[in-house]
Amino acid sequence: MTSRIYSFLRSVALALTALSLAPGASAGDEGLTFGMLLVGPYNDHGWSQAHYEGGRYVEEKLPGTKMIYIDKVNPADRPGLTIPMVVDDLVDKGAKLIIANSDDMKDGVREAAQQHPGVKFIHISGDDVLTGKATDNLGNLMGRMEYGKMMAGFVAAMTTRTGKIAYLGPLINEETKRLAVSAYLGAHYAWTQIRKKPASEFSFKVSWIGFWFNIPGVTADPTQVVRNFIDTGHDVVLSGIDTTEALIVASQKRQEGKDVYAVPYDYIGSCDSAPKACLGVPYFNWGPDYLGIVRSVMDSSWKQAWTWNGPDWRDINDKDTSTVGFATGAALNGENQAHLDAFIDGLSSGKINLFTGPLNYQDGSVFLKAGEIATDKQIWYLKQLLKGMEGASQ
């Protein structure tokens, strides 16, 4: 009996040895291998999916290039994981360029870039190049979503009946403040200039959940926050978070008979899950920028830069040229569609510049004097929400 057990165990041991000799990763074809760190799921219908599709776009345009991605890179989803560790792994697998898609990865990317001077890094939404904290193999890229958010705010204010618009914010930092402010400016413009209604009948409420997406037990639950918005009379909810809760809840409330809408964020296909509740979505189109970066790394012409690219005003929805776009939703009516087109023309020609003074911060201090136009840096490093908005600034 014992000998039979032993022979059985021996064969198991052999099987395990065979397993340990399984194929490792192959790397180093002719094309470039680039790694992508996504903070959320690759199919989140939001922020991370937009990046994922941008990477796929590069693979399609440059045969031979290969993306290795890892999603849900955040300590709540992957306990014990840190950015430098994942980067080590991607570099082992042959990645010559690493794209990190979250503000949350800022410190980790900086550390990883120091450890791998031969690898290029792009930190999305960061400013380490501006602040001088980046080593020279680390660059920053961001889209001028301010325009997209102005359009989002615009369609919201054109559609609202109650005059109460809500903004589902992620965490509070300079980026999220400037995006919420942009949405407010677009909405305020539509309400007062197009609909010619008094500003006193308009309200814009911002609630922050504490992170880019829901982490049960840690952040506020975005589903509850949106329900609360709608139950307190807000009939259009703008999403500023990575995922689509605002649209889902608005759609559920519509089925209960409420006349409410949402504007999701980040990903061109966000409206698909509930088109009837969707006024449109301001989205990032990372493909063309990624393509340029990958090409420049391949031919060694890559240079460190802090890049903040806007829409291609000839056609903001051109998927080969425009970094930021706005996809109209099925719920936007024809008349408002025409107003939106005129608004986009105004932004494009520069006739409309909503970051023009007089604008005051929430605490009453001056952001822009009358007639003053904000510089890029003033917008990037926006200190507070503006007067007229409800919600926390820090």
Binding site: L9, G24, Y69, I70, K72, P79, D92
Partner: protein, 345 residues
């Protein structure tokens, strides 16, 4: 068969059950078990950098597990490890914050580790005190205290310790380099942390198996009523055991801060408290297997990142494997226990 042989046979049997079960599961979702196990192994032991990541998980997991052993010896279920890890992390961050620009980084780090152990032990003492003075079962006290600890950490991150101008659950500001646990060039794990873990394993081995305290603790765990006859105070032993348990968990939390994350984050414990319970159960509540099982679990945790990266599989497979290990271990131990008592043996 000798005891060691029997234990090895049991272990292999458990592994076989787990491998078969996991393979079936993989085949069910249309993935190659061969490839998946290959990635798990090469992803954890394939290079020094990967193995050092495994050690980074192994250290806190082992500390939590050996800490739990003290509590189990005294007959206590210290479910509160998770909270004790968190409190240890809070203690460390508190001291490190004071020590920024102090000019004495090593002293600061040392004090931070002491604070981690003290806060972890103190938090465990609360559970112990509730049991002895309030008659609250330590499982419920521990669970409750875990939630309270989580509440405290969220409050600190979003409130008093938040980054200037930012309100985010991402975590607090990263500490300057000199307050990171020192490591060597090309290492991703601190040799000091490895040293601490090994020292504490050896110390625990001596304390539990060879010291008078260890013997008494065992006696208290087996029969708290009888030990009174020998002049021992079971309550005192229970409290000391749970304090040691908490101190070790707290130390694990301190190392999570100073060695891995260099800041406070909501998920600072990485769930090692709960994972440690599985390790100890799988070890059949004995010290010797703990470092090895912890290494196995750590390797699974680290290696499983390869599954989504290389095979687009969900990495929760590592959790499935860990769970299957514990269940099949309980099964194997249970069957052996029944057979050793049954007829014809």
């Amino acid at each position: 068969m000798s005891r060691i042989n029997r234990y090895l046979a049991d272990t292999l049997l458990i592994l076989v059950i787990v491998v078969v079960f996991t393979s079936l599961l993989l085949l069910l979702v249309g993935a190659s078990p061969h490839e998946a196990f290959g990635h798990l192994i090469s992803g954890s032991f394939g290079s020094w950098s990967k193995f050092s990541r495994v050690l980074n998980v192994w250290i806190p997991l082992t500390l939590c597990s050996i800490g739990l052993l003290y509590a189990f010896r005294a007959g206590l279920w210290n479910i509160g490890v998770e909270g004790q890890v968190v409190l240890g992390a809070i203690g460390t961050v508190g001291v490190l914050r004071l020590g920024i620009d102090s000019g004495y980084p090593m002293v600061t780090l040392f004090l931070a580790m002491l604070a981690a152990a003290a806060l972890g032990g103190g938090w465990a003492l609360v559970a112990g005190w509730l049991k002895i003075r309030g008659g609250v079962h330590e499982i419920f006290a521990g669970l409750g205290l875990n939630f309270v600890a989580m509440g405290i950490v969220l409050w600190l991150i979003f409130g008093p310790w938040k980054r200037p101008g930012i309100a985010s659950m991402s975590g607090t500001e990263v500490f300057p380099r000199e307050l990171w646990f020192p490591t060597l060039e090309g290492w991703r794990v601190s040799p000091y942390a490895i040293g601490i873990a090994i020292l504490l394993i050896l110390a625990t081995s001596w304390i539990l198996n060879h010291s008078r305290f260890g013997l008494n603790l065992k006696a208290v765990g087996h029969n708290p009523r009888a030990v009174v006859l020998f002049g021992l105070s079971p309550q005192r032993y229970l409290l000391i055991a749970i304090i040691i348990s908490g101190a070790l968990a707290g130390l694990a939390g301190g190392l999570q801060v100073s060695g891995i994350y260099h800041r406070l984050i909501p998920a600072i414990s990485s769930g090692y408290g709960y994972l440690g319970l599985l390790v100890v159960m799988l070890a059949n509540f004995r010290l010797l297997p703990i470092p090895f099982i912890a290494l196995f679990f750590a390797a699974l945790n680290v290696g499983s990142i390869q599954l989504p990266m290389m095979m687009q599989l969900d990495s929760s497979l590592s959790g499935v494997i860990q769970g299957a290990c514990v269940l099949s271990a309980l099964l194997v131990f249970g069957i052996r226990h029944l057979r050793s008592r049954g007829p014809g043996n």
